[in-house]
Amino acid sequence: MTFESFDDPELDGALSSGLSALAPELEPADTVLNELRPRFQRARRRRRVVQTSAAMTALLVIGGVAFAEAPVARRSHVTVESPDRHTDTTHKPTPSTSAHPTTTTPKPRNLSAGSAPTSTSQHTQVLPTVTPTTAAPTSDYPPSSATTPPPTSAVHVVPPPTHPLTPTTVPLPKPVRYYSYAGSVLVRLVHGQMLLLQVLPKDGYVGDVHVKRPLKIDVWFNRHGQMVSRVELIVVDGHIKQIRHSTFASDQGKTWDGRRVMVAGVAAGHHGTACPSKPLTKPAAQVASGPVSRSGDSDATASDKSDSSVA
């Protein structure tokens, strides 16, 4: 007690002794500590549980936020989400080769975990002569309209399977490619839902998946930041229908695939532009690399000419 303002040590001493006399006598600290030790341990366990729970909650929140942000980030990176783009080696036939161009469609990868296809299913579905029961349903293709020539099945030449067929395998539906002036879109109908396999813009165009839902896919093809063409697909009664295939701005009036390209706003409701058997206009090397946007040297007119000649 060194409180300098206290000038009465006797009073301080009396207060100290008097108040100390009021203090109770206690048990030895060791006894109390032994009694309290289980309580202390429980408190420590509770604290650790709380800390662990808080950490896990924080991780879940962070993971949830990251998951919620992920689709937006993917959309900003444009286009192709299908792993098929690296294996699609469809060749574009040259006009001088023959009237029956050869298209090689290798086995695509299993796209989603929910789909049941196996690795042997692709060959079985494209060769109806092997086992008719396992052939791919051709009803996935949109019905051909009067203005659109039906796709010729002769352009597909697929080598026969080199392994025996497994009777339990369920074939995957055949992927269908829909064309637009500035590129093409490869989709597949699985269990009544569309899977976007590939977006393949032509040189100088950029593909942008605008809508990607199980029943609707809308892909825009942009050039210099402006949308010049789009492919809009919907699923109606278990079939894919192309309801939009339009060209905008400076690309009006150009031809593609022997037909007049539609202008903006006129394309809605147009059906039958799917060309499942039409070969792609890209060389195999370019397609296999899966580029999304190219600043190629060939302009759209040149591509149109090649397409027209093929048709």
């Binding site: 409180f3 206290f6 207060l15 100290s16 009021l22 109770p24 600290a29 500590l33 309580r39």
Partner: protein, 168 residues
Amino acid sequence: MQEGKDAAPDRSLDFDDTFRRCFGPMVRSLAVAAGDRGVAEDCVQDAFMRAFVRWKRVSRLDDPVGWVRHVAVNRMRDHFRKLDRGGRAFARLQSQEVAVSAAPEEPNELAAMLDKLPAQQRIAAALFYVEDLSVGEVADAMDLSEGAVKYHLHAARATLRGALEPSP
């Protein structure tokens, strides 16, 4: 790994030593301040329990005992606040005539005077006179400035002086 195993008992030993050394004086001083041994024991035990679950951090402080005392004093203040709220609520509910038995006579005049002191003065006096802490330590425990502690001690001493002086 061996070091970690050795380190844990050391920490535990430090805590045990601290507990053995400080538990008794803290309970005694706070029992004087609260006028209730059970309340004081609860406050100090709770403070030591909080120190135990985070002893790794508390033991690295400059004054681990001061941290424990500070927590205990805060618990004591909470107790006083709770009593104050309870007293006010009881006064509000006393609108009807209720026969209240007279409070038992205090066996000690000093204890009666101490009970009339405000909580801050009671705690300051108990820590200063019973636990024999310095003004600075009392200030740390009560989270007050030293001047404020001196003020409370001066007021408490002036009040308690009457209980010690022989009545004419």
